[in-house]
């Protein structure tokens, strides 16, 4: 580990951080993003309490140094990186002090990249930061229920809704809507993992008439559907999605027939990154094809290139509305939310700010 970091943290914190890094690199596919987000906050809260720092800038440097050891560059970890960015923004805001944040309106605060030192000592600053983190935790706790409670504003009676694969948020959203409205749901089974089957079972247990169709039938059935409601893994900065494999073509079919596509996702999935390349390393993740082709077809495995990508890029022009815990937003408004949630210097977590680089060069 970085000697600078080692100096600043206790041994317990170090082992806890290493455990967390291990946790992130295992169980990627089954992990729920909400659980990992809460875990992240707790780990960084401990780091803030126990590490050695005096000013806000030092703390930011420690946090960023630690992030280098987390597998955050993998496409699966955007929820963790987003929460780290939120924490960094909290630290920056508290370091600048209450007067500065209150007086500055949105636009000029966006352009302020330096941290003016303020007169708070470490204990006061730490208290303020920890209070803000508690508020952040409360916001995350209620994020799903905020989204779910908006169901009745978006579902009318006797509607036919198309959804894709499995999403806990969408399931709860639809089940909440069922309490007051009667509607039908068509679920695409989302091969080869067949997560749609699980979604259909859960929805029909909750009393919703559910139909399971194959993914290939999406175009055939979508003209008879009133809206498409989907969840996503990540929301990119321009309003595009990194969603389950197969969502792009459903969104394209919906656009062809002018069926609105609504995405429900909490704001910790909103990432200030853009699509730079479609390569598996940069954007997508290719998982094993054992669900696609039987091992009894082993003679084919060596001769045929089989691809099983996990994610899909959905451009923002195919999406009508985002329903987040702060309300409904058009894709064109997301840039504003990003400027409120994250600080520009944290968009790239590997980036050190100018003063830190000068410090490093001096030592």
């Amino acid at each position: 580990m970085d000697p600078f970091l080692l100096k600043k943290i206790t041994r317990d914190t170090k082992s806890q951080l290493e455990e967390f890094a291990l946790y992130l690199s295992e169980n990627k596919n089954e992990r729920r993003s909400y659980v990992s987000v809460v875990k992240t906050i707790n780990v960084f809260r401990d780091l803030i309490c126990t590490a050695e720092w005096v000013t806000g800038r030092e703390l930011i440097k420690i946090v960023k140094c630690y992030c280098k050891y987390l597998p955050l560059s993998q496409s699966n970890e955007t929820d963790v990186s987003n929460v780290v960015r939120r924490i960094l923004k909290i630290i920056r805001e508290e370091s600048v002090g209450p007067e500065a944040t209150n007086s500055a309106d949105g636009i000029s605060a966006f352009f302020k990249t330096d941290i003016k030192p303020c007169n708070l000592g470490r204990s006061d600053l730490q208290d303020n930061i920890l209070n803000s983190i508690v508020e952040l935790l409360a916001e995350l706790d209620t994020s799903k229920s905020n989204i779910v409670n908006m169901a009745l504003e978006h579902i009318h009676s006797n509607e036919r809704i198309l959804t894709y694969g499995h999403s806990n948020t969408i399931r709860d959203f639809l089940l909440y809507g069922r309490k007051a409205r009667d509607f039908e749901v068509i679920v695409c089974e989302s091969g080869p993992s067949l997560k749609g089957h699980k979604m259909a079972a859960e929805l029909s247990e909750g009393g919703i008439k559910t139909t399971v169709i194959a993914d290939s039938a999406a175009f055939a059935i979508i003209h008879a559907v009133n809206k498409v409601i989907i969840g996503t893994h990540t929301i990119m900065a321009d309003g595009a999605l990194r969603a389950t494999n197969g969502v792009h073509q459903v969104a394209m079919a919906a656009k062809f027939f002018s069926v609105p596509v609504i995405v429900c996702a909490p704001l910790y999935k909103l990432s200030p990154t853009h699509l730079c390349s479609y390569d598996p390393d940069a954007f997508n993740k290719v998982i094993g094809p054992e669900k696609m082709l039987n091992f009894s077809n082993a003679n084919l495995h060596s001769k045929v290139l089989i691809s099983n990508p996990d994610f899909d890029y959905v451009p923002s022009d195919l999406i009508e509305l985002f329903i987040t815990n702060t309300g409904g937003h058009a894709p064109s408004y997301l840039y504003r939310i990003i400027s409120e949630l994250y600080h520009p210097e944290d968009y790239d977590l590997d980036n050190m700010c100018v003063e830190d680089v000068e410090d490093e060069m001096a030592t």
Binding site: G191, K198, A214, G246, Q249, V304
Partner: protein, 392 residues
Amino acid sequence: MIGPSHLHNHSEAVVSTQSTGTVTEAQAPAKVAPIQEVTDSCGRVEILSHLKLYDRTIPPTQSLSFTSSKIHPAFVKLGVQMARDIVVGSNARCAALICAVKTFISDYKCPKSKEIRSHLNVALKPCFTYLAQCRMMAVSMENFIKHTKVQVAKISPDLTESVAKEELQQSCDNFFRENIYLAGKSITEKAVERVVDGDTILIYKKSQLILHILLEAKARNKNFRVMVVDSRPDLSGVQSCERLTAAGIPCSYVYINSCTYVMKKVTKVMLAADALLANGYVLGPVGTALIGLISSTYNKPVIVCCETYKFSERVQTDSILYNELADPDSMLKTLNEEDTPVSNWRDCPNTRLVNLVYDTTPPALVSIVITEIAELPCTSAPVVLRRGAVKM
């Protein structure tokens, strides 16, 4: 490639297993007990309730008796083969039907009081009804039946029974030869021109015609790759992969969900059609429309190959009005034989499974249709139909 020898072999196979059934004197068209249809609303989707859904736990032959059935054993066997998906593919099903009709004609004895040209159609009717109840007829089969009816009605009353029967069998053979075998060859010639070195061609599932085109292109030493797109529940693309790799053509294989992921690397898309409708819509296996949409969004040419005998006078603008519902339980099949969470769907009143067979692709998403007479845009379908009507 289905050739005349293939037809011969199939008819032999059909003949060998049945007795010398003769169609006895027919009364008024007999009522054949229908195959059990699922009529209760449980498990049915409202917008699809106009489509028949058959109860597949009961064998289609249960209602038939040995002694007084009006249905020739060749048709009984064919019906079961269709219902159990042993004979699949529009060309194969039509070829099998041609064999069964030829067998029927050779065993047919016209009653003394009737004329062959009016009676034969009446005798064939219950067989066709039975087939339609085993599995919905493909457009290729329907068009052959129309052709047969016209041929039977045109028989001159002066001919003896044996000569008339020979003529009819000859016309069946001609239908096969012209519309399936030679048409396939002609389409192959035209389509192979479109394959150039360095191409990556995307195909969907398994089609006898498209595979023939690709194998012929390989035989002419063209250097290309194939991207096979497959979808559940039947996963017939695996057979395409096997045929192509056996011929030495490099293949890739994806599910239809990943079609957008691979579309950038594709240069051409070749699709097969089950029918071409009179308003230019292409009826194909479900998923064809999605592939057409993605290809045209990424500006890849979509080439549809379709013989003219599959052109239909039907018009429709969406995929639900005319469709077929296949066995919903086949959607529960997973590769490692596991249960899925909806395996007990018959016990849950709220869960329904829908397994559509066809979908229609709008003409705007198709670049060209290659038929044996010409390479056409989709919208020329009614011109071809008119030409065919004039010829008849």
